[in-house]
């Protein structure tokens, strides 16, 4: 099932807070993933967990075309299980 943009944003914020051991209010939705020190292995892990939550596969490259929480949430919301 597709998720709404705000649900996806909340999921990514929670994920980063947990992985980076930060408070949710320390996560900036407009800051690029690499600015949080995420490398490609970390991005693959994140999109893997995101895919599991969504129930369809999100390619890791999406996080490079849409490198912030705000932009990836919009891109993921536009995906359907068929187009993902």
């Amino acid at each position: 099932m597709s998720k709404a943009v705000h649900e996806i944003k909340a999921w990514v914020v929670d994920y980063l807070a947990r992985e980076l051991k930060l408070q949710r209010n320390q996560i900036d939705e407009r800051k690029a993933f690499d600015r949080y020190g995420m490398d490609s292995v970390a991005v693959v892990a994140m999109t893997g967990d995101l895919s599991e939550w969504l129930g369809f596969d999100v390619p890791a490259t999406l996080a490079y075309d849409h490198p912030t929480i705000e932009s990836i949430a919009g891109a993921v919301a536009d995906l359907t299980p068929e187009s993902a």
């Binding site: 490609s40 292995v41 693959v44 999109t47 890791a60 490259t61 490079y64």
Partner: protein, 308 residues
């Protein structure tokens, strides 16, 4: 994964004797299981290297793109209807079969270091195909070749940790061998991954331990440097986006066949491949790695004095 090393890297002697990955290292990657690879490679070619996509066709398929890639190399090497063609790193034999069945080549020699690949080709190939479990460095042809194709093998011709001089010496030895084996004016069509915006240090640890033990990648300038003076490079393409799409297709096919894959190999192996495919998608998509397709023509009398 096996870490067997036949020769210690780092000496000129070792580099010249066998500069690339050992047979054990190649087998550790490619001998996982033919059945496992066939779950996500295309049925037609079983090519485990970048396809050549037609990005103007939204419904282009992996099969069509792989066949297009084979035909591209056959065209670039001018192999069609020739007598003798060599395929260095022949994989599961897609090019070998295409040369014999479609392009009218009389005799094809294929070299591979993988026993599983050799057995597969012998089972599935037409006549007049000679598949050898042999490194290029040991190959001794009985007659010159009219064309050489090498796709997805050059990646294994250097070892991480070897000195730059040894790496270049190994590449130079490869091009010198090809030169000696070819008819005057014949063409070599070469496809290899390359370092793009990254350096060896960024990749080698991951590559060496996780995916391709004992293998290092070239930079474009290293190929340009070491193919001289025997060859002129007549065409260069960096088709990295083609490889990003190829890896994405493989990843999607493996994901779709996950349950079957689990019957063939351990879950940990599947997860390693899925992670590897995604990392490669990123590397090619972002330009950290390149996918070079080069056409090289044998130059004769390269050292002849200029008449002025």
């Amino acid at each position: 994964m096996t870490e067997a090393t036949l020769l210690e890297p780092g000496t000129a002697q070792a580099a010249l004797a066998n500069p690339g990955a050992s047979a054990e290292a190649i087998q550790s990657h490619y001998d996982v299981s033919n059945d496992f690879y066939s779950l996500w490679l295309d049925d037609q070619t079983l090519a485990y290297s970048s396809a050549l996509w037609d990005f103007t066709k939204p419904d282009d398929t992996l099969e069509a793109a792989q066949l297009r890639k084979l035909d591209y190399h056959i065209e670039q090497s001018q192999a069609a209807r020739k007598k003798r063609v060599l395929d260095i790193g022949c994989g599961w034999g897609g090019t070998v079969r295409r040369l014999r069945n479609v392009h009218g080549v009389e005799h094809v020699t294929g070299l591979t270091l993988s026993e599983a690949q050799r057995e597969f080709i012998l089972e599935h190939s037409p006549t007049n195909v000679d598949v050898r479990l042999q490194s290029w460095s040991d190959h001794q042809p009985t007659a010159p070749y009219d064309a050489i194709i090498s796709v997805g093998a050059f990646e294994h011709f250097a070892r991480p940790g070897a000195s730059h001089a040894d790496k270049l010496a190994g590449y130079r030895a490869f091009f010198e061998k090809c030169y000696d084996w070819m008819q005057p004016g014949a063409c070599l069509s070469l496809q290899t991954m390359s370092y793009g915006t990254t350096q060896a240090e960024d990749f080698s640890k991951y590559f060496e331990t996780e995916i391709f033990p004992e293998s290092d990648l070239p930079h474009l300038y290293e190929i340009a440097l070491t193919s001289r003076p025997g060859f002129e490079i007549t065409r260069v393409r960096d088709d990295r986006e083609h490889y990003a799409r190829t890896y994405e297709m493989w990843w999607r096919r493996l994901r779709a066949n996950r349950k079957q894959a689990e019957l063939i190999v351990p879950k940990a192996v599947i997860e390693r491949f899925e992670r590897y495919m995604q990392l490669m998608m990123i590397a090619f998509h972002t330009g950290r790695m390149g996918l070079l397709r080069l056409t090289l023509r044998r130059l004769d009398n390269p050292g002849a004095p200029l008449s002025v």
